[in-house]
C-alpha cells in the first residue's frame, strides 16, 4: 500500500521532468549550444592546446584540471571519512601502542583463516594478477592517447589488489602495504596535483597551467604523465585502503 | 539648546557598574550595602546636576554608538526624560534604603540587589533614550531584569507569576519593535528628539498600525485594561520589588513609552487631526473606573494596591490623550504624583507585613496605634489619591480637569470625580480600620518599624505633601513638567 502510494507519487513527479526534458535540445542535434560553444574550441584546438589526443583526458587534466584536483580530493575525503568511521584500536591498526586493553569480540580479523578458496580460482588469480597490473599501468600511462587514464587505471589496480586480498586473505596482503607507505600513497593524487600545479605557475603564471608552447611539449607530456601516475597510484591505494578497512571491521 | 554631555550615559551606567560590583562582591553584606547605597547616591547627584541646565532649556545629548545612519544607541536628557529620571533616581535611593531593612535575613540577596540596580539602570536608560530603538532596548532589558525579582521566592506561585509576567511584557516588547521597524520604514528616523516624526502623508493605514502597536506594546506595562493581567499576580514579589514594579520602574516605563508615543513619535498636532487618542481616552477612563471597583472588593492589602495602581496609571494615559497643554502637564506631573503616594503605601504595607505578618486588610484593626508613623504616612498618601488639596493628587486632578474642559470634554471631569469617590471608598476604610476600629482593649503600644523602613516611608510622605503644596519641590520641579509641555506643544 505504502509502496503503491510512493510509486504513484513518483509518476506524478516524473511528469514535469518529462516536460522539461522534452524542451531540451533534441538528441544528437549538432547545432545545440553544447556543441557550438566551448566544445567546439576544445575539438578544434584541444590537441595542440591541451596536449592530449584523447580530448577527455585533455579536459580532465588541462582545461578543467581543478575539477580533477577536487575529484581526487573527494576520493581522499572518502577514505578519510571511511577510516574516521571505521577505525578502532581493535580493528585496522598497526602500532603497538594502539592495542586496546582487552580485544573486543571477533577482534583481529586479519588472523582469521581465509575462506577456503578453490584452487582453480587461486591459480587463475595468481596467473592473471601481473597481467592486470600491466594493463592498469598501460591504461594509466596511455590515457592521453587512448581511452583511459588515471582513474580507470587506478580502479583496475585497486581491483587487482582487492581480488588478491579476497583470494589470499587480508593477513597476507596487508603487510605489503605498511602504514607509512600507505599514508603517502593515499595522498599521492592530490599531492601530485599540488606540485604539478605549482610548476604550472612557473610556466604560465597561473596555477595548474601547462606550457602551451610547442617547444615545451615534452615537459607538458611529462607533467601529465606524472599527474596520471599520481591519480592512478593514489586512487588504487585509496580503493584498497577503503576495502581493507571495511573488510577488517 | 543641545549640549553634548556624557552625563545621560553616565546615569544608567552607574547602576550598571553597581550591579556588576554587587554580583561580584555581594556575598559580603557590607560591600553589598555600600555599593548599592553609594551608587544610588551618586546617580541621584548626577541626575540632579543636570537639573539646573534643564531648567534653563539645555538638553544634554550623547550619541553612544551608531550602527548605521539613523540606527544606533543615543541618549538625550530632555525635560520629559529628566522629570522621569529625577523621580526614578530619588525613589531608587529611598527604595534601596528600605530594601536593606526589608531584606534582612532573606535569601538570594546578591541576586536581589544586583538586579535591583539593573532595573533602575534601565529605567533611567528609558528616560534618557534618544530614539525608539534605545527605548526598546532598555524596555526589554527592564523586563528581563525584573523577572528574577518577581520570582524571588521561587515558590511555584512566584514562578507562575514570573512566567505570566514574561509572556505579557515580552510580547508587548515585540510589538514595540515591530512598530519601530514600521516607523523607520515610513519616516527614516527613530529619533524621539522632535515633537513628532510622523506625518499625515504616510497613510492612514500605516499610522493606525503604528499607533495600535505602540499603544499595545507600551500599554502592557502601563497595565491598561485589558492588558493588566500580569500586574496583580506579580504581587507575589517582595514588597520593595512590588514598590519598584508598581510605582517606579516597570509601569512607569510603559506609561512613559505612551507619553513618548503621543508627544514625540506622533506629535500632538498630528494626533489631534487623526483622532486616535479618543478611543484611548475612553479605554483609560474605563480602566480607571473598573480597576477602582475591583479594588473595592480586594481584601489582600497588596492586591488592593495593585488594582489602585492600574487605575492611577490610566490617569496619566487619559490626561495625555486629551492633548491639551494643561492635561499634558497633569500627565507628566502625575508620574511623580502617583509614584510617591503609591510607594508610601507599598512601604507601609510592607512594613506592616514585615512587623506583624498581616497581609489582609481586615486584620489591620488597631494597627494605627501600634505603628502610628507608618499609618500616618499611609493616611497622607490616601488623601493624595482622593485628591484632597495640598496633596500631590490634587494637582493632577486640577490640571487634568482644566485640560479636559479646555478640550470641551467635560465628561472626563466626571470620570475624575467618580474615581475620587471610589478612591475614597477603598482607602478610607483602611484608615478607619487602622485607627478607629480597634478591638476593645487595644492599648497604645508602639512597635514602630525599624528606622531603615520608617525613614523612607516618612520621606515619601513628606514629598507627597510638598508636591501638592509647593511648586518647586527640590529635585522635582513642576516647571520641568511645564518645560516639557512647552516643547511638545511648541509654545
Amino acid at each position: 500500500m505504502k509502496n503503491a502510494a510512493v510509486a504513484s507519487l513518483l509518476v506524478i513527479f516524473a511528469i514535469p521532468l518529462l516536460i522539461a526534458v522534452a524542451e531540451l535540445p533534441p538528441f544528437g542535434d549538432p547545432d545545440a549550444p553544447i556543441h557550438t560553444h566551448i566544445s567546439a574550441r576544445y575539438i578544434e584546438q584541444g590537441v595542440e592546446e591541451a596536449g592530449a589526443e584523447n580530448l577527455v583526458t585533455g579536459v580532465l587534466l588541462n582545461y578543467r584540471g581543478f575539477d580533477t584536483f577536487g575529484e581526487v580530493t573527494v576520493i581522499f575525503t572518502a577514505l578519510a571519512a571511511a577510516l574516521a568511521v571505521l577505525l578502532t584500536s581493535g580493528g585496522v591498526q598497526y602500532f603497538q601502542e594502539d592495542r586496546p586493553p582487552a580485544p573486543p569480540k571477533g577482534a583481529d580479523e586479519s588472523e582469521r583463516p581465509p575462506t577456503p578458496v578453490s584452487p582453480v580460482v587461486l591459480f587463475v588469480v595468481r596467473l592473471l594478477a601481473p597481467f592486470i597490473g600491466i594493463f592498469a599501468a598501460f591504461v594509466i600511462l596511455h590515457g592521453h592517447v587512448t581511452p583511459g587514464g588515471g582513474f580507470q587505471g587506478g580502479a583496475i589496480l585497486g581491483a587487482m589488489f582487492i581480488v588478491l586480498t579476497i583470494v589470499l586473505g587480508a593477513g597476507k596482503v596487508r603487510p605489503r602495504l605498511p602504514e607509512p607507505l600507505a599514508r603517502w600513497l593515499q595522498g599521492a593524487a592530490p599531492l601530485s596535483f599540488v606540485l604539478i600545479g605549482a610548476l604550472g605557475v612557473a610556466f604560465t603564471g597561473f596555477y595548474l597551467g601547462f606550457p602551451p608552447e610547442h617547444s615545451l611539449h615534452l615537459v607538458r607530456e611529462l607533467m601529465m604523465v606524472v599527474l596520471e601516475i599520481g591519480i592512478g597510484v593514489g586512487g588504487a591505494a585509496i580503493f584498497a585502503r577503503i576495502f581493507l578497512a571495511m573488510e577488517a571491521d | 539648546m543641545e549640549v553634548v554631555d556624557i552625563r545621560p550615559v553616565l546615569a544608567p551606567a552607574i547602576s550598571l557598574v553597581c550591579a556588576g560590583l554587587v554580583f561580584l562582591q555581594g556575598s559580603n553584606a557590607f560591600w553589598r550595602r555600600f555599593w548599592s547605597l553609594s551608587a544610588a547616591l551618586v546617580k541621584l547627584v548626577v541626575v540632579l546636576s543636570m537639573l539646573p541646565g534643564s531648567l534653563q532649556g539645555i538638553v544634554y545629548v550623547y550619541d553612544f554608538v551608531e550602527f548605521t545612519p539613523g540606527i544606533g544607541l543615543a541618549f538625550r536628557a530632555d525635560a520629559l526624560g529628566m522629570f522621569f529620571a529625577a523621580v526614578s533616581s530619588t525613589l531608587w535611593l529611598l527604595t534601596t534604603i528600605y530594601a536593606i531593612g526589608y531584606m534582612k535575613g532573606a535569601e538570594h540577596r546578591v541576586r536581589f540587589f544586583g538586579f535591583f540596580a539593573l532595573c533602575v539602570s534601565t529605567t533611567v536608560g528609558i528616560a534618557f533614550a534618544e530614539n525608539l530603538l534605545t527605548l526598546f532596548l532598555f524596555y526589554e532589558m527592564l523586563t528581563i531584569c525584573t523577572y528574577p525579582l518577581v520570582i524571588h521566592d521561587e515558590t511555584p506561585e512566584a514562578l507562575r507569576a514570573g512566567r505570566k509576567y514574561l509572556i505579557y511584557t515580552l510580547t508587548g516588547g515585540a510589538f514595540v519593535l515591530v512598530a519601530s521597524v514600521i516607523v523607520f520604514d515610513a519616516s527614516g528616523t527613530l529619533s524621539l528628539g522632535q515633537p513628532g516624526i510622523l506625518t499625515q502623508e504616510m497613510g492612514m493605514g500605516t499610522l493606525t498600525v503604528i499607533f495600535l502597536m505602540l499603544t499595545v506594546g507600551f500599554g502592557v506595562k502601563a497595565a491598561i485594561m485589558p492588558l493588566q493581567g500580569w500586574l496583580p499576580t506579580a504581587m507575589v514579589a517582595p514588597t520593595p520589588v512590588s514598590a519598584l514594579l508598581h510605582a517606579v520602574a516597570v509601569v512607569k516605563a510603559g506609561v512613559f513609552g505612551i507619553l513618548r508615543t503621543i508627544y514625540n513619535v506622533f506629535g500632538v498636532d498630528l494626533l489631534a487631526e487623526l483622532g486616535f487618542t479618543m478611543p484611548l481616552a475612553w479605554l483609560a477612563s474605563f480602566t480607571i473606573i473598573t480597576a477602582s471597583v475591583i479594588a473595592l472588593f480586594q481584601d489582600n492589602f497588596k492586591r488592593r494596591l495593585a488594582y489602585s495602581t492600574i487605575s492611577q496609571l490610566s490617569y496619566i494615559v487619559l490626561a495625555a490623550s486629551i492633548l491639551t497643554p494643561f492635561a499634558a502637564t497633569a500627565a507628566i506631573a502625575h508620574i511623580a504624583n502617583q509614584a510617591f503616594p503609591k510607594i508610601t503605601m507599598f512601604f507601609a504595607a510592607g512594613a506592616i507585613a514585615k512587623k506583624t505578618g498581616k497581609k489582609n486588610i481586615r486584620e489591620l484593626a488597631g494597627i494605627g496605634y501600634k505603628m502610628p508613623w507608618t499609618m500616618g504616612a499611609f493616611t497622607v498618601a490616601s488623601l493624595s489619591f482622593i485628591g484632597v488639596p495640598l496633596t500631590a493628587g490634587f494637582i493632577t486632578k486640577w490640571y487634568m480637569s482644566l485640560g479636559a474642559l479646555d478640550a470641551g470634554e467635560w465628561w472626563f471631569v466626571v470620570v475624575t470625580a467618580v474615581s475620587s469617590i471610589l478612591n475614597a471608598a477603598y482607602w478610607l476604610p483602611i484608615v478607619y480600620i487602622a485607627f478607629f476600629k480597634a478591638p476593645p482593649g487595644t492599648v497604645m503600644h508602639v512597635e514602630e518599624a525599624s528606622p531603615t523602613l520608617l525613614v523612607p516611608i516618612l520621606v515619601c510622605a513628606v514629598y507627597v505633601i510638598l508636591l501638592g503644596a509647593t511648586v518647586e519641590v527640590p529635585g522635582m520641579p513642576f516647571s520641568l513638567a511645564e518645560a516639557a509641555v512647552n516643547f511638545v506643544f511648541g509654545m
Binding site: 514535469p16 522539461a20 524542451e23 531540451l24 545545440a32 549550444p33 553544447i34 557550438t36 560553444h37 566551448i38 566544445s39 574550441r41 582545461y63 578543467r64 584540471g65 581543478f66 575539477d67 577536487g70 580530493t73 573527494v74 581522499f76 575525503t77 572518502a78 578519510a80 571519512a81 577510516l83 574516521a84 568511521v85 577505525l87 581493535g90 585496522v92 594502539d98 586496546p100 573486543p104 602504514e179 607509512p180 593515499q186 592530490p190 599531492l191 604550472g200 596555477y207 595548474l208 597551467g209 601547462f210 602551451p212 | 551608531e66 550602527f67 548605521t68 540606527i71 544607541l73 530603538l133 514574561l166 515580552l170 515585540a174 519593535l177 515591530v178 521597524v181 514600521i182 520604514d185 498600525v209
Partner: protein, 500 residues
C-alpha cells in the same frame, strides 16, 4: 602583497593539501595533528585576509586556473559574498583549537581516528572555501561534495550509535541534494553549453531564451538541493540530530558554517537567474518567504521544548537560517544585505554557543539544562560567553545579531509584506524565551548535581576561542555597519536587473 594573484589558489589548496598531509605528519605522534592543522589554517587565513582586502578595494576579481581565459577553463571568482571565507577560517581555526582537548574525550577505541578527524576538518573547511570562491558550476558541485562527505563523517566520528545513525540520515538527504545539484548543472550545461557562471548568465538570456522549462527545472532542483544543505523546512529533518550529536567543535562548524553553504549556493543561483532575466522569480521568492517564516517559527517553537542544550541550539539554527532565507525571498536591497550579513554573524554567534556548550559538556559530562543547573557559578567565563551569544542570537542591540534582523524586517515592510516582518520579530521573541530559560538555569536555579558546582573553568584551548568569539559578537554588533556596507555592492549588483 595584496595584489599577488595566487592567494586565490593558496586559500583553497592550503587546507586541502594540509588535509592530505595531516595523516602523514602525525604518523609518529598523533598529538601533532591539531597543531599542523592549525598551522595550515593560519596560512589559509592570511590568504583569505589578503583576498578580502583586495575585494574591498577593487571589487570582484577572478583567477583563471591554468591560464585559460574563461569560459574555457575553470575560473575562481572572488566577490563580496565570497568574503564568507573569513568566518570559515576564523571559526574553523578556533574549532580546531577547541578540538585539541575535545578529542581526548573520544572513546579510547576511537583514538586512531584522530589524524583523520583533523584531516576531515581541513577538507571540510577547504571544501567550503572552494565552494565560496569558485566561478564554475561543476566545480561548485565538486567542492560541495568534498565538504558534504567530510561533514557526514565528522558527525559520526565519535563512534556513538546515535551519532552514526544521525550521520547516515544526514548522508542520505545530503546525497540526494548533491545529486539534484549535479542534475541541474547538467541541465544548465545542456541548454547553454557552458559551465562558467558569468558565461551561463549571459548565455541563458541569449541562447536558451526559449528553453524555459528546463531552466525552471534546473532552478527548482538547485533550490531544493541547496535547501536541504541549508536545512530549511520541510527538508530540515536531518539537522537537529546531526548537529546535536556531533562533537561540539564539529557542531560549531556544521551549524555555523556548513549550513551557510546552502545559502551561498542560493545566492549564486540568484545571481545567475536574476542576471539572465530569463525567469520571473516571484513565485520562488514567495515560496522561500513562506518556508523561511515557517522555519523561523517552527525552529524557535521546537527549541523551547528541548532540554538538551545542543538540541536546542540545533533547532535555533533552523530558525536562524529561516531569517536568512526570508531575507533572500524578500529580494529587496535591505533584506538581501541583512540576510547575507547574517551569514557571517550567525556563524560567529552559533560557534560561540556550541563551543561554550561543548565546554560544559566536556567538563561535566551533562548535556541537559536540568543537569547543568548552577553551572554559571562554576564556569563563570564560559557562561558569560554563552550569555553574550544568547543575547546576540536573539538580536538585541548592540550585539551582532541585531542589525541583520533589523534590515530583514525593514525589507519586509519595504516590500509590503508586513506579515513576514511580524513573523520575524515574534520568532525572535520565542528565541528570547528559550535563552532566558537557559540563562535562568545556569545562574539562578538550584543545582541538581552538586558536583556541577565543583568543576573547573574550561581549559585554555577552549576558553580562549570561546571568549574571542563572544567578544567578536559584541564588536560585530557595534561595528555592524562595516559588513553591511561591505556586502552592499554585491547585493545591489545581484538585484540590479530587477530595476530596484
Amino acid at each position: 602583497m595584496i595584489e599577488w594573484p595566487h592567494w586565490m589558489a593558496i586559500v583553497v589548496l592550503a587546507p586541502l593539501s594540509g588535509a592530505v598531509l595531516t595523516p602523514i605528519v602525525s604518523l609518529r605522534d598523533r598529538r601533532i595533528a591539531p597543531w599542523f592543522a592549525l598551522a595550515t589554517m593560519t596560512v589559509t587565513s592570511v590568504a583569505a585576509l589578503f583576498l578580502i582586502m583586495r575585494v574591498a578595494q577593487e571589487g570582484p576579481f577572478s583567477y583563471p586556473l591554468g591560464a585559460w581565459t574563461p569560459p574555457y577553463g575553470i575560473e575562481l571568482r572572488f566577490d563580496e559574498f565570497s568574503a564568507a571565507i573569513s568566518v570559515v577560517c576564523l571559526v574553523g581555526s578556533l574549532a580546531i583549537l577547541c578540538s585539541v582537548r575535545y578529542t581526548e574525550w573520544l572513546r579510547e577505541l576511537a583514538k586512531p581516528r584522530i589524524p583523520y578527524y583533523y584531516a576531515l576538518m581541513l577538507l571540510n573547511l577547504g571544501g567550503m572555501i572552494g565552494f565560496m570562491i569558485t566561478g564554475d558550476l561543476f566545480n561548485l558541485f565538486v567542492f560541495l561534495e568534498i565538504l558534504s562527505l567530510s561533514g557526514y563523517a565528522l558527525v559520526a566520528v565519535s563512534g556513538e550509535r546515535t551519532a552514526e545513525m544521525a550521520a547516515f540520515k544526514y548522508l542520505l538527504m545530503g546525497a540526494i541534494s548533491s545529486l539534484l545539484v549535479l542534475f541541474s548543472v547538467g541541465i544548465i550545461f545542456g541548454i547553454t553549453g557552458s559551465l562558467n557562471m558569468v558565461d551561463v548568465t549571459t548565455r541563458l538570456a541569449s541562447v536558451a531564451a526559449d528553453a524555459t522549462m528546463p531552466a525552471v527545472l534546473a532552478l527548482g532542483a538547485l533550490t531544493i538541493g541547496f535547501m536541504v544543505k541549508a536545512a530549511i523546512f520541510p527538508v530540515h529533518v536531518w539537522l537537529p540530530d546531526a548537529h546535536a550529536i556531533a562533537p561540539s567543535p564539529i557542531s560549531a562548524v556544521l551549524s555555523g558554517l556548513v549550513v551557510k553553504v546552502g545559502i551561498i549556493g542560493m545566492l549564486r543561483v540568484y545571481q545567475i537567474y536574476y542576471g539572465s532575466g530569463i525567469l520571473d522569480l516571484t513565485v520562488l521568492n514567495q515560496v522561500l518567504l513562506w518556508l523561511g517564516a515557517i522555519s523561523i517559527v517552527m525552529g524557535a517553537f521546537f527549541a523551547i521544548f528541548q532540554d538538551d542544550i545542543k538540541l536546542m541550539l540545533a533547532y535555533s539554527t533552523i530558525s536562524n537560517i529561516g531569517y536568512i532565507v526570508m531575507g533572500l525571498g524578500l529580494s529587496t536591497n535591505l533584506s538581501v544585505i541583512g540576510g547575507a550579513v547574517h551569514v557571517f554573524n550567525h556563524a560567529l554567534i552559533k560557534a560561540t554557543l556550541f563551543l561554550a556548550a561543548g565546554a560544559f559538556i566536556y567538563r561535566t559530562g551533562y548535556r541537559t539544562l536540568t543537569d547543568l543547573r548552577g553551572i554559571g557559578r562554576a564556569m563563570p567565563l564560559t557562561s558569560i560567553a554563552l550569555s553574550i551569544g544568547a543575547v546576540s542570537i536573539v538580536g538585541i542591540p548592540p550585539t551582532a545579531g541585531f542589525l541583520c534582523k533589523w534590515y530583514i524586517a525593514l525589507g519586509a515592510f519595504e516590500a509590503d509584506q508586513p506579515m513576514f516582518g511580524f513573523a520575524l520579530i515574534f520568532g525572535a521573541l520565542f528565541i528570547f524565551i528559550y535563552y532566558i530559560r537557559m540563562v535562568n538555569a545556569f545562574y539562578f536555579q538550584e543545582p541538581i548535581h552538586k558536583e556541577v558546582l565543583r568543576v573547573e573553568e574550561a581549559p585554555l584551548t577552549m576558553l580562549g576561542p570561546i571568549l574571542l568569539l563572544a567578544a567578536l559578537c559584541l564588536i560585530m554588533g557595534i561595528l555592524g555597519r562595516i559588513p553591511l556596507t561591505f556586502i552592499e555592492p554585491a547585493a545591489l549588483r545581484m538585484l540590479a536587473p530587477l530595476g530596484g
